[in-house]
Subunit: 340 residues, 2 copies
Amino acid sequence: MIIDIHGHYTTEPQKLLSFRDKQLAGLADAMRKPATNELGITDEELVASVQPQLKLQKERASDLTIFSPRAAGMAHHVGTEATGIEWTRMSNDLIHRICSLLPDNFAPVGQLPQHPGVPPKNCIPELERLAKLGFVGVNLNPDPAGGYWTDPPLTNKGWWYPLYEKLAELEMTAMIHVTSSCNPVFHYTGAHYINGDTTAFMQLIQGNLFKDFPTLRFVIPHGGGAVPFHWGRYRGLAIEMKKPPLTEHLLKNVFFDTCVYHQAGIDCMARVIPLDNILFASEMLGAVKAVDPESGHNFDDTKRYIDKLDISGADKAKIFEGNARRVYPRLDKRLKERKK
Amino acid sequence: MIIDIHGHYTTEPQKLLSFRDKQLAGLADAMRKPATNELGITDEELVASVQPQLKLQKERASDLTIFSPRAAGMAHHVGTEATGIEWTRMSNDLIHRICSLLPDNFAPVGQLPQHPGVPPKNCIPELERLAKLGFVGVNLNPDPAGGYWTDPPLTNKGWWYPLYEKLAELEMTAMIHVTSSCNPVFHYTGAHYINGDTTAFMQLIQGNLFKDFPTLRFVIPHGGGAVPFHWGRYRGLAIEMKKPPLTEHLLKNVFFDTCVYHQAGIDCMARVIPLDNILFASEMLGAVKAVDPESGHNFDDTKRYIDKLDISGADKAKIFEGNARRVYPRLDKRLKERKK
């Protein structure tokens, strides 16, 4: 089977977006607060809302998408910690319902109610709730300040370790994924996302996180940002910092997806990153919806690039399925329960 | 000839570094201010200080290095605008002296006295001084806040255009290069440099800068950050923003260097970036000094990667020389005056 590990719910019903407008307007004018967070979205509406994704799954021959709330919608820097908690629960609940309605097509990943300046351990109640609901992972934002980067690096013990302990205990895989940028210097999908990936990997090189959490699993999306392209730089910096080879230091715990939208990029990645560390993903309906006029295909139709890689069928099967089942143990369990 | 367009003076005499210590200590305690900014560094000391670079030029068969002050040393976020102006002039003067003493080996590029929150037009006096001294370009920092990114994007008219007008008038080429990071989330050479490159390119996609400045030339170092690896993403985003193809929109004015420290990265770059837009560079003695245990060669010995590219000799000559002479018109003039 073909598992796309990186899909966001970017076709939300208008009722959800209107709620968010009212919720945030309520911070300025309490009169505008939504009267209820019961949105009255029916199962039929939810199923209708994901028809674009189902159509693309069929057209592009993928089977299952790991599905999480819109990444830019998390917006941890917006509002208060309390509005963020409410928004997070509502967003996650919709993902849960969709994945329950269409369990052969979607597996749930949640957002966390992070907030700038607030310790990530405050996210533990929502993380535990998600685990009970059958979520297979979460998106973890290395910059809840939305492009101002005012919180500590991912290796900071006092700040992050309580959350990591719970992630490890629950076997929840974390995708390191920033949200929208409120800093005008950073375009969100064109700069902030890619910078977030690169920054996270370099923080992990500098630290020794996986000595403390040998079972923690991080996925760095968008092909790892700049990392495969600068693999020599990162190998060299690790040597200068007297770290073990990156295969030992990080690659038992850190994985990359294939959201790289052209053949030369995917080829570069497959040449330097061990194939066990590459997980198929397209980020559809996501960052880039355009058709490439040179190829006539959508930029984000990433399966085409993997198909063209000069590697064995067994290796392709790892990228399409095997690695995802290993890196997301809760997904593997969920699939096995469904005899897959 | 082989021109390395990206070298920093990372072997400065101790006298310069001691001056900087005292200069900054003087901000806290006026008693510690240096008595003079006449450092008494002799020509012999300057020539001795660049022997490591000359040795590597010989060993690696490059002829000329475009040479600028240490990038992390610019530290525009440190001290006051006044200390920055003094520090910039002193740093540039050493570059000028070295390039005058060894004109066959070095051509000068300067730093600018940028300061966070201060309009870049304040740099014009130093820019004019550098032009009179024969400098061929400058390093332009898109984030004088050193990792906090509090200044406007490169396309902001009110902020940046006065400086660009002067750059265009003087035919000074600008390398878009951040300095050190005072934000603990960003390792300087492993994250901040690469993010700075990626961010700058995306800002330029969003804007229409080169409609206003058709002769302005920007070099984005470190292979353009993440850009070639994500070339499909950038082409796709430009399409969605209704911009012209990137070849039209940016590539008459924006160029990339080859500071990418492994073969797969350079191969990726040469597949997607027009060869007219790639300039040879190694950033030596710079970011990564280690030897690659897999190849037995230094990571930053980038000429080896270019030599192995599957392109014609004429195309390699463009990367090694022709493009540099076109993108740095003042360098070309300087070389012709020396019958080169």
